[in-house]
Amino acid sequence: MLTLILFLLPLISGIFLVWNKSNGLAKTTTVLVSLAQIALFIYTASVFRADASALDYSLDWLSDFKVSFHLGIDGLSLVMTGLTVVISGLILFATKDLSYGNISRLLGLILITEAALIGVFAAKDAFLFYFFFELALVPVYLMANLWGGDGIARITLKMFIYTVFGSLLMLVSFVVLYLFAQTSELADLAKIPVNLRPGLNNLLFWGFFIAFAVKSPLFPFHGWLPDAYSKSPTPATMLLSGLLSKMGIYGILRILIPLAPAGTANFSGLVIYFCIVGLIYGSVIAIQQFHIKRLIAYSSFAHMGLMAAAALTLSPSGIQGSVFQMVAHGFSAVGLFYVAKIIYDKTGSRSLADLGGMSQRAPRLAVLFMIILLGSVGLPLTNGFVGEFLMLRAIFDFQHILGITAVISIILAAVYLLRLYQKTMFGPVTSFTENIEDIGVKELVVLVPIALVIIITGVFPNCLLELSSGFAQTLPLIK
């Protein structure tokens, strides 16, 4: 029941805000709902410690097909719902003070996305998972179109076609498994693949994998990403990079490995190669970018490749590392895109060529930006370090040469992110950055929690690792 409330509260308030027209009411509702969600989540976590089965909620949805509305929480789901609740809260806080028209509708769409994401992360039924997986995209699609710049419609259409194509392949895989199991409970579906022909197992793998590879996105399915991230309005970009991309990695852990184990064993090596190629490729392109949002978009793409590669090494440290990094990357990506938006609002430019010297005028922004950035680079004592260390170790154990190649990406990440910092914060003041003011309380409310999480989970990673290690034990094929 608690899980259901966690899902329904943002959904209902989101639908309300989409119809509501008053800005003041919208802002109050947003603050209250985000705080209530965080409180609810903390309570959920405490219930989880006592008895995880108390969080199960099941309702007949389509009885003649044995499809049920089944939500439940395990270690991985708890981490992901927690991430969703906190990150959406931060995005809502950031968005409510931005200068968008129809702000109530925008906030409502963010809340609906949050509900759909909680649905994805808590779904225990295959078709429910698919349902929310697709649903999460619709409000983001609308946000991008209604608040995005010119030409956004074609870009988002491309994104939509890419992801729906992937998801439909996933649906086919689900339907195949469903026909054998005659029920769509994920736990029951996981018993099927053992008895299937190897060929069918391989097809299942690709059906699932392409869906998640498009969503993350992984190389070579990233064609939609650069434009979609850079041209969407910032709230949509933050949702896409901070949360929606995690659905891909979550899908690999929750669906791909348990439901297509034979295929995973056959192809994970190949896929890891592609992920590492994407990692280096994304990093190299990021180094050459002058558009801030594109730079962060490519950095985000590179990081997703590393997470997928680590998860597919099928070792406990790889899986724990990718779960940990999902959290770390969620915070740092949202932080980076928010800083990019702040810089744009203050200077009117997103080009590195126009900026410089901002640290003199905005020291508070400079400090917080530095912390978030170092978290993204993976400096020790930030959460980026813990995740990356675990993941790189797993990839190194998997194949030394891949591990060494992947480590290069850390250096590349330092290059493009520090270049971003240097070109915006240091150097001579330009005409764009002459008259800017430092950030105020509105921005601090968002950036300070992000910086705190980056440092606290970096110093005390155990609270998260405990949850993910419990989950890693339950997966098949773990070495």
């Binding site: 007949d60 949805w61 389509l62 009885s63 003649d64 097909f65 078709f127 698919y130 349902f131 929310f132 697709e134 649903l135 619709v138 179109n145 209604l146 956004i152 419609a153 074609r154 259409l157 939509f160 076609i161 729906v164 194509f165 439909l168 392949l169 649906l171 086919v172 339907v175 195949v176 469903y178 026909l179």
Partner: protein, 462 residues
């Protein structure tokens, strides 16, 4: 059974309503009332399954629901037509009367038990439609469409009749109800029997616009007045798919291996031709015409995997497709009347430019109908596709499924063209909608979402 009698009678009555004054205010409410009476009379047979006219028409609860879907779609279309027929050349009484006659044909087709009834129903349905297609006499495209539809449709029904005759010759029976000679297919001459099946199928596949019998579709959809395009896309499709179901599943269950091959070829061709050709169209009605070809392919997928759920799956598909099509064409009716080009309603995709600013509610209706047609979750279209997928894959036709998935991804491109246009900025003035049109459009949108969230509500009826 009863709605057939009621509508035959009230159709004549409607003609009299327009006798004194062709624009009489009583025609529309009268027709709504007649359809409501027909709808209620339909349930007179509820829980009393049986046959009429010497076993020529069969009534079961499932049939009653399908017939109700047909009558309800007609009701929605009639409500949507309020304010449409006001120019001097219009004869609303005749249009509404012809619609009722056409529905009589559709109802006969959905419940026939004898091949003669099938032919009769098809003719009653079609002849009224040929006239309705050309009802806008000043529109040259409409005249062309009507003639084209009439000529090709006559050939198709002719072929169907030929097939019926052959089947009769081979088996000595028109009766397709379970356990009859026809169903057991104990016949003297096998070759005539199979040729007969093929010819009958051609006649029906023509009406449902399955490729390669689809050539009339685009021109006729484009030329016909939009309201009657919606009629063709919804009521005719529902009636024909259920007559196909009756024919193949009740009539020829033992020839499955034979007709399934034909159906599979038609599915593949419909999916490929429908979706690929739709991509290059600019006229919204032509886009929906080609989309209707691909949707026919999806509907036929259910027939390839005959199971006890197939009927329900098809009914869900028809209902969901009907809701989405009425919404899409309804929005087109409203918007194109407000956006003239060269003195005629503009029916190109760019008519939707800036709809989110001109009338956000209509834009949401359009968006949800397009999401439903392309099968995105939260809409009934998702479940309808899911149900027919389970049918097709149940018999192991994985390649059909993969083809359908690839084509669905392609279909997003053209289904989203009006949506993409709706997000543009524009200087055009805001659009006002009539009360009845609002009622229909919001109603079907709500139903689409409701069935998308809780598909069990509809399935529980069966």
């Amino acid at each position: 059974m009863y709605p057939i009698i009621v509508l035959s009678f009230t159709g004549l009555l409607t003609l009299f309503l327009g006798l004194d004054n062709p624009k009489s205010k009583t025609i529309l409410p009268g027709t709504v009332l007649f359809l409501l009476v027909a709808l209620c009379s339909n349930f007179y047979d509820w829980n009393a399954p049986g046959t009429y006219f010497n076993n020529m028409i069969e009534v079961t609860n499932s049939n009653i629901i399908v017939e109700s879907v047909i009558i309800l779609s007609a009701l929605l279309l009639v409500l949507l037509s309020s304010g449409l027929f006001e120019d001097e050349n219009a004869h609303p009484a005749e249009y509404y009367a012809l619609m009722q006659f056409s529905i009589v044909g559709a109802l006969i087709m959905a419940s026939f038990n004898s091949l003669l009834m099938l032919f009769l129903g098809l003719e009653i349905l079609s002849i009224a439609l040929y006239v309705l297609t050309g009802s806008d006499k000043t529109n040259l495209r409409g005249n062309e469409a009507s003639l084209k539809y009439f000529l090709m449709g006559s050939f198709a029904t002719g072929i169907l009749l030929f097939g019926v005759a052959m089947i009769y010759g081979a088996t000595g029976s028109f009766d397709i109800s379970a356990g009859t000679t026809l169903a057991r297919a104990a016949m003297a001459s096998k070759i005539f029997f199979y040729v007969g099946i093929v010819f009958t199928l051609i006649g029906l596949l023509f009406k449902i616009s399955g490729a390669p019998f689809h050539f009339w579709t685009a021109d006729v959809y484009q030329g016909a007045p939009t309201l009657f395009t919606a009629f063709m896309a919804t009521i005719v499709k529902t009636a024909v798919i259920f007559s196909l179901y009756r024919l193949l599943v009740n009539g020829f269950p033992y020839e499955y291996a034979f007709w399934a091959k034909i159906i599979l070829v038609v599915i593949a061709l419909s999916l490929i031709i429908g979706n690929i050709t739709a991509v290059v169209q600019d006229n919204f009605k032509r886009i929906l015409a080609f989309s209707s070809i691909s949707q026919a392919g999806f509907m036929l997928m259910a027939l390839t995997g005959i199971s006890d759920k197939t009927f329900t799956n098809l009914a869900f598909y028809s209902a969901s497709y009907t809701l989405a099509t009425i919404a899409a064409l309804g929005v087109l009716i409203v918007v194109s009347r407000n956006t003239l080009r060269d003195g005629r309603p503009n029916e190109n995709v760019d008519v939707f430019s800036g709809l989110f600013r001109r009338n956000p509610d209509l834009a949401v209706v359009l968006l949800i109908s397009m999401l439903s047609l392309s099968g995105i979750p939260l809409t009934s279209g998702f479940w309808s596709k899911f149900f027919v997928f389970t049918d097709a894959i149940g018999k192991g036709y994985l390649w059909v499924l993969v083809l359908a998935v690839v084509m669905s991804a392609l279909s997003l491109y053209y289904y989203f063209r009006p949506v993409v246009a709706a997000f543009r900025t524009t200087e055009e003035p805001a659009i006002q909608t009539g009360v009845l049109q609002k009622l229909v459009l919001y109603g079907v949108t709500l139903l689409t979402v409701l069935l998308g969230v809780a598909p069990g509500l509809f399935r529980a009826l069966f």
